[in-house]
Symmetry: C2
Subunit: 201 residues, 2 copies
Amino acid sequence: MSRLPKALQDLIDELGLLPGVGPRTAERYAYYLLKADKHKSGKLARTMEQVHDGVGQCPVTFALIDSNQERSPLYDDESRNKQQVAVVEDPFDVISIEKTGKYTGTYHVLGGVLSPIDGITPESLKISELIQRIQDDDVKEIILATNASVEGESTALYIQRQLEDSDVEVSRLARGLPVGVDLEYADQITLSRALEGRQVV
Amino acid sequence: MSRLPKALQDLIDELGLLPGVGPRTAERYAYYLLKADKHKSGKLARTMEQVHDGVGQCPVTFALIDSNQERSPLYDDESRNKQQVAVVEDPFDVISIEKTGKYTGTYHVLGGVLSPIDGITPESLKISELIQRIQDDDVKEIILATNASVEGESTALYIQRQLEDSDVEVSRLARGLPVGVDLEYADQITLSRALEGRQVV
C-alpha cells in the first residue's frame, strides 16, 4: 500500500484546490493540521464554514462588510467625501488604499475585471451600479484604480468610455517608477509611462 | 475603517498559522474561499474536521492508517519482509520509499527527529518501540532512512548506538550525487560523501 489514509488523502485533495497550492504544499498543510491538536484544526474549519455567513457586501460600494452591518461604515462616515469615488477591482484593494491614509473619498468595488475569455462581461461587474451611484450621490470625481494588467487597463478604458458623456472628472492612478527603484532596473513600459507622466516641479 | 469584516479577518488569521503561509498568502486563500461557493469551502472545512477522526496510527509501525484499520495493511501483508525495517521520520517518508517500488521490507515511523532545542528527546520518539519490535519480529536488518539534516543524522547515530550490542545489521541510505546532477553543481559535502561511498564496479 503506497496510499494514505482516506481522510488524509481527502484533506490533501481539498487543500490542493486553494490557489497556488500544489500537491507537496497540500501534503505539508494536511500533515500540519493532522499533527496539530484537534481543537486547532477544528477552529480553522469553523472559521472557514462561518466566513460566508459572517461576511456581507455593502449594497452601495460592494465592499466587504460584517453581515450584521447594513452598509459599509466607511461610506456612512460623515468625514468621507461621497463625491469622490475610487473604483477598484476587489475588496482588498480598498484596504491597500486605506493604508496610505491619503484618501478621504469613498470606494466602489467592481468585483473583478473584464475578461471575455473567462466569461466576465461588463454585466458581471458592478458598472451599471457605479453609473447609478454617480447620479444618486452627485459624484464629481472617479479615480480608476484598477491594476496595471491588460484586463485592468481595458476595464478602466471601458468605464472611461461609459462616462464620456457625463460631466464627472475621470482620473487614473499615476504609473511611473516605484519609490526606491533605480532607473536602470525599471522595465521599459514603466519607464515610458514615467516619461509620459513627467511632472513640472 | 481599514479593517476587514471580522469573519474574514478571523479566517485570514487562522490560515496564517499554516506552515509557510504569510499574511498575503492567507489573504489570497481566504478571499478564494469567500468567493468560492459555500458548498466548496464547506467541503474543505468538513474534511479538515474529519481528518483527526478518520486517521489512526498503526500500533506496531506507527504509520498512518484509516481509523477503522487495526494495523498497517503493509505490515500485515504476507509478502513484506518483517525482518527488514526501514526507520523513517514521518509517515510521508513511507509513501516516498514505496513509490520507488524497490523495497519489500516494512517500516517504523519515529514520529520526528531528536531536537533537544524543541524538547524532542529520545522518549518522545518511537525508539523504545523499535527496540521492542526488533525482539518481537526477530528483525535482521534496520535501514536508517532519516533525512540528511543535522537532526536526522544525530537521530540515526543515536539509534545506531542503541543497537550496538544487538546483532541486528544496521545500514544507512547512501549519500552521494543525485541522479541527473552534474558534478560541478554538487555541494562539497555531497561530493565528499559520494567519494567516501564510492563503489567498486
